[in-house]
């Protein structure tokens, strides 16, 4: 019964979305306030009905109602509660429901806090949001209904893939979706602005917080995903340039570019049409990403064949959204006149170059991701190719190097006309630190490789640049300390956020470089009592024994790790066997330290020759995630800035409704 109510709520949400997509748009065009007013209650209603639908499906998962098809296919009565809940979004239908629910949350947020938005703009934004919702809801109802019953009901479920039974992955999809769907706000604002024919600094001030929030979620979501791959897949890899990973990385790159170009619109009233285009592209890439993951179009072209209706629907929807918004852009963009002009050496110009590099890098990733599909289609299925890490190392990385070199310069540049020599002289400290670190690393690691030494220098340059930026702003060493402290306290949170985010990138670069270049790995057979030395750490194999877990059995190994005779840690990796679905997983034991990760994996016994073991030392590994978290924290701090608070900004002189309000102090 509850399941049917959920199904009914989903249908009601769809009907409301239809109304919300059409009526306010007509109202805004005709200046009909009554029609425009439909948007707000419709957005709230959609949220309520989708919450009900979500709760109903959750009820199905929690009570293990196997008469519901998705529950039977993805859950099992013996599963821990956390994974029964996470099982909801661990599958195609359920994850779509989560997607539209998040979309409705964002829609309701605009409806709720967007009081200072001009009435027509808000009506149009909500209407565009509802169009996206309509597309997704009709897709769900037509081809992927989570409430489909299974008759007769099986006695027990098929179980959730054991690899996905992991706390890191339980929360990975919601974060990723909050990011993907968050970019829909930028998209809706962009399309609404195109319809209105007006993009101004106030518009950018409305769009930035949403974009920033989405960016923070996406950053965390990607970091969680790569962290999961690192410790769950058991061989120390953390990024594979897999289509599914690229699917989340492309919107991140485009979103990062959007974040920066929106600053130029806000502060300088320039780059308007480019920013609108970026907003459209970012969300289009998010959509593409959702579908790559959810439909398997790329990892397997055959996903189309297994359910042609789904594939055709997906393609149609993508064409409609991307084609429609780009057509609108082509028609309306010429009326968006640029405002402030700037010199080739200026903060604006630096941000333009940032955008070129990020957009180009994003394009190379897109090309690499879609290339196998193109080759397959062009050759008629005879040429099967894969595009792997070497491609991205040759295309993506060279584009990142100039970007990072510039990243330290940009924030120190002044608007309109910058002084390159002055900026460089202020960066002497960062440059010196960077050169020094390269020399030290070169001395410690004579064998290089040269590129890794350079990478370390680049990372230090970024961190040094962020520190210089801070020191400049608070006049450190140039004013009395008390003055500097007062300035630091009074510094806008957005500035702190930007510095943290840029410094975080530096930390990520250091982590990537060191762990890629200097990881030491040993794969050996060990008997209890055997020792192996990896990068100066002595792994002593104590024992391995079989034992039970909540819903699996596990082989547990124990390694005592010591350095120079002093004990460091005891590592206990597991090799688990799950009965439903029957599958083995590897649980690596990882001990993260500032200097690097100790990492041990135990394999099955090889007769009487002992157990196979995989032992690593991965220098600065956890810096990758620490840096990503710092970037996200920077975003959150920036978001808490008074000027960025969602819904806070006002348009200087509002042409339609609303009283003129003073601009927030710059």
């Amino acid at each position: 019964m509850i399941i049917e109510l959920g199904h009914f709520a989903l249908i009601l949400a769809f009907v409301l979305a239809l109304a919300q997509a059409s009526l306010p748009l007509i109202g805004a065009a005709r200046g009909n306030a009554a029609l425009m007013a439909v948007a707000r209650p419709a957005a709230f209603g959609q949220l309520i009905f989708l919450l009900l639908a979500f709760a109903a499906l959750m009820y199905g998962f929690v009570t293990s109602d196997f008469s519901v098809q998705v529950v039977a296919a993805n859950s099992h009565s013996a599963k821990p509660m956390l994974y029964k809940i996470a099982g909801l979004w661990g599958n195609h239908e359920g994850s779509l429901l989560l997607w539209v629910l998040i979309l409705a949350i964002f829609g309701a947020a605009v409806a709720g806090v967007g009081d200072n938005l001009p009435a027509t703009l808000r009506a149009r934004v909500l209407s565009v949001q509802a169009m996206i919702a309509t597309g997704f809801l009709s897709f769900m109802l037509a081809t992927s209904n989570p409430f489909t019953r299974l008759i007769p009901a099986p006695l027990d479920g098929a179980g959730l893939n054991p690899l996905l039974q992991d706390p890191g992955l339980a929360f990975h999809p919601p974060f990723l979706y909050l990011g993907y769907v968050g970019f829909s706000m930028a998209f809706s604002f962009a399309v609404a602005a195109l319809i209105e024919g007006r993009v101004d600094p106030a518009w950018a001030r409305w769009v930035r917080p949403w974009t920033l929030a989405a960016w923070c979620f996406l950053t965390i979501g990607i970091a969680m995903g790569s962290w999961w791959a690192y410790y769950e897949l058991g061989w120390g890899g953390w990024w594979f340039w897999d289509p599914v990973e690229n699917a989340s990385f492309m919107p991140w790159l485009a979103g990062t570019a959007l974040l920066h170009s929106a600053i130029v619109v806000e502060k300088r009233d320039a780059l308007k049409s480019w920013t609108v285009l970026l907003a459209i592209l970012t969300f289009s890439l998010s959509l593409l990403g959702t579908f790559i993951v959810r439909s398997g179009v790329l990892s397997s072209v055959h996903a189309f064949a297994t359910d042609p209706a789904r594939g055709v629907f997906i393609l149609g929807f993508l064409v409609l959204v991307i084609g429609g918004s780009l057509t609108l852009y082509a028609i309306r963009a010429p009326i968006l006149k640029g405002g402030g002009i700037f010199a080739p050496i200026s903060r604006e110009a630096a941000l333009v170059v940032n955008n070129w590099l990020l957009a180009t890098a994003c394009a190379t990733v897109l090309l690499g991701t879609l290339y196998p599909l193109l080759m397959d289609a062009l050759s008629g299925g005879t040429d099967k190719v894969t595009v792997g890490a070497p491609y991205y190392n040759a295309t993506f990385t060279p584009l990142m190097v100039p970007l990072m070199m510039m990243m330290a310069l940009g924030p120190l540049m002044s608007w309109k006309r910058g002084d390159l020599a002055g900026v460089l002289s202020r960066l002497q400290f960062a440059l010196g630190l960077s050169v020094l670190s390269m020399l030290v690393v070169w001395y410690l690691r004579e064998e290089g490789p040269v590129l890794a030494v350079f990478g370390i220098g680049l990372g230090v340059w970024l961190i040094g640049g962020a520190l210089t930026d801070l020191a400049e702003r608070i006049k450190l060493f140039r004013a009395p300390f008390a003055t500097s402290f007062a300035r630091a306290v009074g510094l806008p949170r957005a500035s702190w956020g930007a510095m943290l985010a840029h410094g975080g990138v530096g930390i990520v670069v250091l982590g990537i470089t060191a762990s890629t270049a200097w990881t030491e790995e040993k794969i050996i057979l060990m008997q209890p009592g055997d020792e192996a030395t990896v990068s100066g750490y002595v792994y002593r194999f104590i024992r391995a024994e079989q034992g039970p877990g909540p819903n699996y059995t596990a082989l547990r190994g124990q390694f005592e790790v010591s350095k120079n005779g002093a004990p460091v840690v005891s590592l206990e990796p597991e090799a688990r066997s799950y009965p439903t679905p029957p599958m083995d997983t590897t649980e690596a034991a990882i001990y993260p330290m500032l200097s690097g990760d100790l990492f041990a994996v135990i394999g099955n016994p090889q007769g009487d020759k002992g157990w196979s073991a995989r032992l690593y030392f991965r220098p600065l590994q956890s810096w990758i995630w620490a840096g990503a978290i710092i970037m996200a924290i920077g975003g959150v701090i920036s978001l808490s800035d008074r000027r960025h608070r969602v819904g806070a900004p006002r348009r200087a002189a509002t042409p339609i409704g609303g009283a003129p309000a003073p601009l927030a102090a710059e």
Partner: protein, 157 residues
């Protein structure tokens, strides 16, 4: 600086960047594409030993031999028409099973043995890599809808 000049600079800058990106991509695509072949295609094509590529098929039943050092493993990959011997050094992924689909990347040595640098694990036990399914189709050993060879992939993250 006038608006026109600024636009010119922007366009030139973007062109230079796009040009270099296209160059990078073309260069990278030429050198880094990894082709996929079925064991039968490997036998027909006489691939040079320095060429990196992927093979896929089923791990032949009873062919897995673990060497005394514990980390070298030999096995045969078959599309049920041709078999190719593979050597891999390291721990095999959890999903590696005799009779199941496998994809390996590496190159041929002078004896025609495939030296795998990586053996790919897929997330799902029933998941047959599409390339393997194709390889089996090509060798005429594929029967659509026959569960012993292939179960449709489950949704996976």
């Amino acid at each position: 600086m006038t608006r026109k000049q600024r636009r010119l600079y922007s366009v030139i800058g973007a062109m230079v960047l796009l040009g270099s990106a296209v160059g990078l991509v073309l260069y990278a695509v030429r050198d880094t594409l990894v082709y996929f072949y079925s064991p039968t295609e490997v036998a027909q094509k006489h691939l040079p030993p320095d060429r990196n590529f992927r093979i896929g098929g089923l791990v032949e039943e009873g062919s897995v031999v673990r060497h005394a050092d514990g980390t070298n493993i030999d096995f045969a990959v078959t599309d049920l028409q041709t078999r190719i011997m593979v050597r891999y050094t390291g721990l095999l992924p959890d999903l590696f099973r005799e009779g199941k689909g496998v994809v390996a990347e590496g190159r041929l040595d002078s004896d025609g043995k495939f030296i795998a640098s990586s053996v790919l694990a897929k997330h799902d036990e029933n998941y047959m890599p599409p390339e393997v399914a194709d390889a089996l189709k090509k060798s005429g050993q594929w029967v659509e809808g026959e569960p012993t060879h292939y179960d449709p992939p489950k949704e996976e993250e």
